[in-house]
Symmetry: C2
Subunit: 220 residues, 2 copies
C-alpha cells in the first residue's frame, strides 16, 4: 500500500506521516513551497522527516502562483505576520484563499499517477476554525471530487486522522510514534530561531505545555 | 461583475471568454502552462484573446509540477501524441490526472482574492467522455467544494456553459460573438503550423466542417 502524505515539515504533518507509516503505507512525501517566509527551513525539515521514514519519493512542488494571487500575510511581504495576541477574530490574515484545495488537487494528481491508495492531510477543524478549507464538510466534499474526477478504479481515499483532534492530542500520538520533533518547524516568521510569538509558535508551545513535555527546538 | 476565465488559447476557451464578456463580466484571464508541447503558442494566443476583451488582468500560472507528476503524453516527452485515428478506446493517454481540479483550485484562489463573482471553464462532457474530470457530476461536486472552502460571503459561481454542447455548437456561438479564431490554437503537437492529425486538430476541423465555415488557421 502507498500513501501520498502532505508533509510541510511542521509538527502536525510530520506526526501524520509517521502515523501513515504506522498504518502500513509506504510514503510518497509531497512538500509545497508557495513563497512563504519560512520555505527553506520547512523544506529542510520535511526532507529530514521523509528520510526518517524511508519515503519512496519526495516531490517538492512550487506553487509560486499563490504568491501572485496574493491576499495573505504568509506570502505577501507588505503584510505583517502579527503576534498571536494581536490577531483579531474571524478569518486570520495568514489565510491563503482556497489553499487546501490546491494542495489536495496536486496530491490527487500525484496519487493517481503513482497508483497510491490514500492521501493523508493533517487538517484540524478546531485549532484553525477561521480557515473554511479545514472543516470536515469541506473534506467530505473534496473526497467526492476525488472519486468523480479520477479513473473509476482509482479508489483513492482521503485520510484526515487529525480533523477532530487538537494539537496536544496530536502531539501525544506523535510521542508514542517517536516522532523526532527536533526536526520539525512551525514558526511562520523566522528561518533560524523560532520567534515564539506568532500564532503557529504559540499553538505549538501551548501543546507541549499541555502534555508536560519540553519542546526540543529553541525559541528567541 | 468580474469573472475568472480559464483561457488556454484554444477555440473553446476563447469562445468562453467572449461569452463571459457578453454575459456582462469584466474578465480576469487565467492561463496555464504545465510543460505541454505547445505552451508558447498557446500563451501567445491566450494573450491576444485577453487583449481583444480588455481583460482586467492576465495571470500566467506555471503548473510545472504536473510534468513531474507525469503519466500523460501531453507532458511526458517519452510518450508520443498519437494521431486521432490511432487512438484507442477508454481514457486517452493525453489525460493529465485530475487536471481540471488543479485548474479550478487555482481559479478559485484567484477569484476569492479578487472578489470575483464567477469562474468560467469550458469543459464539455460529450467530446472528451474519456476524461473523468469533465463530467457534469464532477463540476457539481467542485461547486460544493468552492462553496464550503471559501469565505462564507464569497458566493463564487462555477459556470460551464459548454458542458452539454459539442464543438460545432460552441463554434456557432463563437461566430455570433465574432471570436477571432485566427488567434486561437488547438494542436497538441506543433508550435508553428498545426499538424492537422492529432485528436485536438481532428475535432477542430470537424467542427468547422460541420458548420460549413473555413478554419482561418493553416494546417500542414
Amino acid at each position: 500500500m502507498k500513501a501520498v502524505c502532505l508533509l510541510s515539515g511542521g509538527m502536525d504533518s510530520s506526526t501524520l506521516a509517521f502515523l501513515a507509516k504506522h498504518d502500513g503505507y509506504d510514503i510518497l512525501a509531497l512538500h509545497f513551497t508557495y513563497g512563504q517566509r519560512t520555505e527553506e527551513k520547512e523544506r529542510e525539515c520535511a526532507k529530514r522527516i521523509a528520510r526518517h521514514l524511508n519515503a519512496l519519493e519526495f516531490l517538492d512542488v512550487d506553487l509560486a502562483y499563490l504568491k501572485k494571487v496574493g491576499a495573505s500575510s504568509l506570502t505577501d511581504q507588505r503584510m505583517q505576520v502579527k503576534p498571536h495576541n494581536e490577531a483579531g477574530e474571524g478569518i486570520p490574515e495568514t489565510y491563503v484563499p482556497f489553499r487546501n484545495a490546491n494542495l489536495l488537487s496536486v496530491g490527487t494528481s500525484f496519487a493517481e499517477a503513482r497508483a497510491a491508495d490514500a492521501i493523508y492531510i493533517g487538517v484540524q477543524a478546531s485549532d484553525y476554525s477561521g480557515y473554511p478549507d479545514c472543516r470536515p464538510e469541506f473534506i467530505d466534499a473534496f473526497q467526492k471530487v476525488i472519486t468523480l474526477g479520477t479513473r473509476p478504479d482509482s479508489g483513492i481515499e482521503l485520510k484526515t486522522p487529525f480533523v477532530r483532534l487538537n494539537k496536544a492530542e496530536i502531539l501525544k500520538i506523535g510521542m508514542g510514534l517517536n516522532v523526532p520533533y527536533e526536526d520539525t518547524w512551525s514558526c511562520y516568521s523566522e528561518n533560524d530561531i523560532a520567534c515564539g510569538i506568532c500564532g503557529s509558535c504559540h499553538f505549538r508551545r501551548e501543546a507541549f505545555r499541555q502534555i508536560g513535555i519540553e519542546d526540543p527546538i529553541q525559541y528567541r
